[in-house]
């Protein structure tokens, strides 16, 4: 048996090798093949997940909602102390001092990261801005988001806080943060497909104990994670309910 693993494309490029090292670690722990497939596009990955291509998915919170409610996946673990937070930043010399200074017609530069974009748009609501009265430039990575903000090709950029924090000081010093979310309870999760639930307990236990030995810790470090903690079914449902409230219908 080979487990097919994929990872939400929103981690920093520096950690790609970390996920491959994790893949090897997981193979040894489980005594079975694990095949890792990475994507640079959320939509393409989502289509492949929906087609049943993957058994194990490290998903962003919005995709976790789809995986649990539509596809019957179960969350096993979440990364310790790593909530998904969003930053809206502008050029340091921009006249804008707060989100409320933005006017209809404002230009946004974003990736196609669904949770960052959703929370970013929520943080623009106090300025009466939404998709109908803003212009969005979608780019491939947070580095390109930053480049567009520095070139003042857009009024503001949306960043995953982790990705923003990993930008160089040279780049960060040329931007100012207008607002940074403090939601705390929305985070990535590692989910297992319904057809492999008999392995759920083994995989969960190995991951929770991963930070207990030096080898495990070094693998975690290469992924920029501190460790994993168990996710109960109710905790998963709670997060999904919360995300549901953030989607305006």
């Amino acid at each position: 048996m080979t487990l097919n693993l994929t990872v939400s494309p929103d981690f920093a490029p520096d950690h790609i090798s970390g996920w491959f090292i994790f893949n090897t670690w997981l193979q040894r722990q489980l005594g079975t093949g694990v095949h890792l497939e990475l994507y640079d596009c959320f939509d393409t990955q989502r289509k492949d997940i929906k087609s049943g291509k993957f058994d194990l998915v490290y998903a962003n919170p919005f995709d976790a909602s789809m995986l649990v409610r539509e596809l019957g996946f179960k969350a096993l673990v979440r990364p310790i102390s790593k909530p998904d937070e969003t930053i809206i930043a502008t050029h340091k010399d921009a006249a804008i001092q707060s989100v409320e200074d933005l006017k209809p017609g404002a230009t946004l530069v974003t990736t196609d990261d669904p949770d960052v974009n959703r929370i970013g748009m929520i943080m623009l609501e106090p300025a009466d801005l939404d998709a109908s009265n803003t212009e969005t430039l979608a780019v491939d990575s947070y580095v390109i988001v930053a480049k567009n903000v520095l070139n003042q090709d857009a009024d503001v950029g949306f960043f995953l806080k982790d990705a923003y924090d990993e930008l160089s000081d040279l780049i960060k010093n040329q931007m100012k943060i207008l607002v940074s979310s403090e939601i705390s309870v929305v985070h990535h999760t590692l989910l297992l497909s319904p057809k492999l639930q008999k392995y759920a307990s083994t995989i969960q236990q190995r991951l929770i104990k991963m930070m207990d030995d030096e080898k495990g810790r070094s693998v975690l470090e290469s992924m920029n994670l501190l460790g994993w903690e168990a996710m109960t079914e109710e905790e998963t449902e709670f997060m999904i309910d919360l995300i549901d409230t953030l989607i305006d219908e």
Binding site: E100, I122, M123, E125, P126, A127, D128, V179, S180, S181, E182, I183, S184, V185, E237, F238, D241, L242, D244, T245, L246, D248, E249
Partner: protein, 156 residues
């Protein structure tokens, strides 16, 4: 008398707030708005009767109650007397039918001040059964607050 009451004494109203379950309480109401904290979401959960079962830190800070005071209390302790009861009737009708509710709400803090939120409430459905509700509040725009204030005055 708490310090803020002395400062805002001209704006103090002693009000009796009547709730739909027949209970009531006397509350101090101040004409003082506390700004919504940037970037935060206020999150709470209740059982099907509206009794609070979970409150996040932002809720504790903005409501002015301790977590212990919030857990086990009915969510209506946040209800500001300026809010028309018809708004909450609409909320309950919507969520009891299994649907999501959005609205702008003026909440009453423990100290009598108030804060405006954009609220969303959804039913928590487990195995096809509604077991409670999750309410998430976020920062509203001032234009929506003004519109809501004007509307609620006509409904009170």
């Amino acid at each position: 008398m708490p310090e803020h009451d002395v400062k805002d004494v001209r704006d103090v109203r002693d009000t009796v707030i009547n709730y739909h379950d027949g209970t009531s309480r006397k509350a101090i109401v101040l004409d003082r708005e506390v700004p919504y904290p940037e970037g935060k979401l206020i999150v709470s959960r209740t059982d099907t009767q509206g009794v609070i079962t979970h409150a996040n830190q932002a809720f504790v800070e903005m409501s002015g109650y301790t977590e212990d005071e919030l857990i086990g209390a009915n969510h209506y302790i946040l209800r500001h007397p300026d809010m028309p009861s018809v708004a909450f009737a609409g909320l309950w009708e919507t969520i009891e039918a299994g649907n999501k509710w959005h609205g702008y709400v003026k909440n009453l803090r423990k100290d009598g001040a108030y804060y405006w939120v954009k609220a969303t409430v959804i039913p928590n459905i487990r195995n096809g059964v509604v077991v409670g509700y999750t309410s998430v509040r976020r920062k509203p725009s001032r234009s929506k607050v003004s519109e809501s204030e004007a509307l609620y005055k006509t409904l009170s």
